[in-house]
C-alpha cells in the first residue's frame, strides 16, 4: 500500500495540534490550481491591489515594479483578476 500519511499516529501531537508557528508555508497550495493568472504588462499600472487582495499572500512586487504571484502557492482563485482596476489580469487554463 502506498504511503499516504504525514506521519504515524503515535508521532502526531496531542489532538493533532500544531506545535510550531508558520507551518502553513509548508503547504504548497499551487497544485490546487487549474486556472493561472496571466498579467498584461501594457495594461498594468503597478497599483498593487492584487497583492492586497490575494488570500494566500503570495503576490509580491518585483524589481521591475510589477506584482507577480509565487506559483508554488497561487491556487488560481482569480481574486486578483477580479479586483484589478485595469482588467490587466486574465485567468487562463493552465497546461500542465
Amino acid at each position: 500500500m502506498a504511503k499516504k500519511s504525514l506521519c504515524a499516529w503515535q508521532d502526531l501531537a496531542l489532538g493533532a495540534a500544531i506545535l510550531a508557528p508558520g507551518s502553513a508555508a509548508k503547504l504548497k497550495t499551487g497544485d490546487w490550481r487549474t486556472l493561472i493568472p496571466r498579467l498584461d504588462e501594457d495594461k498594468c499600472i503597478k497599483c498593487g491591489m492584487c497583492e492586497l487582495y490575494c488570500p494566500e499572500f503570495c503576490i509580491s512586487e518585483g524589481k521591475d515594479g510589477f506584482f507577480r504571484p509565487n506559483f508554488a502557492y497561487c491556487k488560481g482563485c482569480g481574486i486578483c483578476a477580479n479586483e484589478c482596476p485595469k482588467q490587466a489580469i486574465a485567468m487562463v487554463m493552465e497546461e500542465k
Binding site: 500519511s5 499516529w9 502526531l12 489532538g15 493533532a16 495540534a17
Partner: protein, 391 residues
C-alpha cells in the same frame, strides 16, 4: 472518620461535588432536568464560595464551545445538559474529544423530542454514543457525587486527556432527595490535585489547536483519539478503585448483584438498576436462579470485565432505555450481541426496551419480564415493554 450525612437533592449534591472539585470555569445553559445543578453552581460563584468563571451562554452549542475554549486555555471545566441541549451540542462534542480536552459534563438523561418530553430515558446519550468521550452511568446520589469528582481525575490523567460524560437519570435521580455523605475538602484536594494541562493555549508558547486535518492527517488523528479512549479503561478502573478507597466505597467498571453464577442475568445501566435489584432480591427469595449485571462504564465498553461478570449465564435480559429505530434491537443489546458473537457458551440475549419518555417501570414488571423470559415468551428481537396495542 465520621462524616456528615445530609438529605439533599441529587442535583445539588452534584453541584457541591463540582465545587469540591474546584472547577475553574462553568459554562452552561439551563434545561430541564439539569437546571438545578448549574443554577446552584452560579449561586456558589456569585457568593464567592467557588472561585470560578461562570459563563451564562445563549445556547448549549455555545456552552460546549466555551467549555472547549476554556479547557484549551488550561482550565478545569464543567458543564451539564440534557436531551435537546445535548443534541444541540452535537458537533462540538466530537471536537472536544478530538482536541483531547478533559471537560466534565453531567448528562441528566432525558428523552429526545418528538413528541416533546421532559421525562427520563437514555435516548439523548445513545444518540451521542460515538463522540469519543468516556461515558459513565451512575445509579444513586452518593455515586453521582463521588463519580463527578472522580470524572475530573479520569479526564485530566495524562494517559487519558479526554472529556468525560457522567450520565444520571433525569428526575428519577436528579430531583430525588437522598442521603449523601460528602467527603472533607482536604480529602478531595488530596484525591484531585490541580489540573496540569499537557498542552494549552499560551501566548508565550503558541500552538494551533483544532487545525484542518487534511487526508494525510485525519485518519491518524482519529486513531490517536480512539486509542486514548480504549486505553482509558485501565485508568478508569484505577481511578474508580482509588475513589472507592478514598470515599470508603467500592466502584468497579461492572457490578453484580443477586445470586452468584445465576443462569439468568438482568443487564442494566443507570437508576433502573435499583428497581431491578429489588426485583432480583425478591426472585432470589422465591428460589429463582437470577442475578444482575450493572454497567457503570459504557464507553469505552469493558468487554472482558462484562464477559467475566456473565460467565456461566445462559440468558441475559438486557434492559434498554432507548430505541434504535430500524435496527435489530436497542443499543445496549446491540453492543452485547456483538461482543458475544461466535463465542462458545454465548448466553441467549433477550432485549426489553423499557421506561421510554418517563413511562414508569415498577419492580413487579421486572419480575414479569423474568417469568416471560424463562418461558421463552419474550420476542427474539426486542420487546417494547408496556406499549399499548390493539393487536
Amino acid at each position: 472518620m465520621l462524616k456528615k450525612r445530609v438529605g439533599i437533592e441529587v442535583s445539588l449534591a452534584v453541584a457541591e461535588a463540582v465545587k469540591q472539585a474546584r472547577a475553574q470555569v462553568v459554562s452552561a445553559y439551563p434545561i430541564t432536568p439539569q437546571t438545578h445543578i448549574v443554577e446552584e453552581l452560579s449561586t456558589y460563584v456569585a457568593n464567592g464560595e467557588l472561585d470560578a468563571e461562570f459563563i451564562p451562554v445563549e445556547s448549549e452549542h455555545s456552552a460546549m464551545s466555551a467549555a472547549v475554549g476554556a479547557a484549551a486555555a488550561g482550565a478545569r471545566v464543567y458543564t451539564a445538559t440534557s436531551s435537546q441541549g445535548l443534541a444541540l451540542m452535537h458537533e462540538i462534542l466530537f471536537i472536544a474529544s478530538a482536541q483531547r480536552l478533559p471537560i466534565v459534563m453531567t448528562v441528566a438523561n432525558r428523552s429526545l423530542s418528538g413528541p416533546i418530553s421532559i421525562w427520563n430515558d437514555h435516548s439523548d446519550i445513545m444518540a451521542e454514543r460515538d463522540i469519543g468521550w468516556v461515558q459513565l452511568f451512575v445509579e444513586d446520589g452518593q455515586e453521582a457525587t463521588e463519580l463527578t469528582i472522580a470524572a475530573f481525575k479520569i479526564a485530566e490523567d495524562h494517559r487519558v486527556l479526554l472529556p468525560v460524560a457522567v450520565n444520571m437519570d433525569g428526575f428519577i435521580l436528579t430531583h430525588m432527595i437522598e442521603p449523601v455523605i460528602f467527603p472533607a475538602q482536604a480529602t478531595v484536594d488530596k484525591f484531585l490535585p490541580p489540573y496540569k494541562p499537557a498542552l494549552k493555549l499560551d501566548p508565550a508558547k503558541p500552538v494551533t489547536m483544532g487545525p484542518v486535518g487534511v487526508p494525510e492527517v485525519y485518519l491518524e488523528a482519529k486513531k490517536q483519539c480512539e486509542q486514548a479512549l480504549l486505553d482509558s479503561k485501565a485508568v478508569v478502573a484505577e481511578v474508580l478503585a482509588e475513589a472507592g478507597k478514598t470515599f470508603e466505597r467500592k466502584y468497579n467498571l461492572i457490578e453484580t448483584n443477586g445470586k452468584k453464577k445465576a443462569k439468568t442475568l438482568f443487564v442494566t445501566m443507570g437508576s433502573l438498576g435499583e428497581s431491578v435489584w429489588s426485583a432480583v432480591e425478591g426472585l432470589n427469595e422465591d428460589g429463582e436462579d437470577v442475578g444482575q449485571v450493572r454497567i457503570r462504564l459504557w464507553r469505552p465498553f469493558p468487554v472482558q470485565e462484562f464477559k467475566k461478570a456473565c460467565k456461566g449465564a445462559k440468558r441475559l435480559i438486557v434492559i434498554d432505555r432507548a430505541m434504535s429505530p430500524g435496527s435489530v434491537c436497542g443499543p445496549v443489546a446491540q453492543e452485547l450481541k456483538t461482543i458475544f458473537y461466535k463465542d462458545k457458551d454465548a448466553p441467549e440475549i433477550v432485549n426489553v426496551i423499557a421506561g421510554l419518555g418517563g413511562r414508569d417501570v415498577p419492580v413487579a414488571d421486572f419480575k414479569e419480564m423474568y417469568r416471560l423470559a424463562k418461558k421463552g415468551k419474550l420476542a427474539k428481537t426486542y420487546t417494547l415493554w408496556g406499549v399499548d396495542s390493539n393487536a
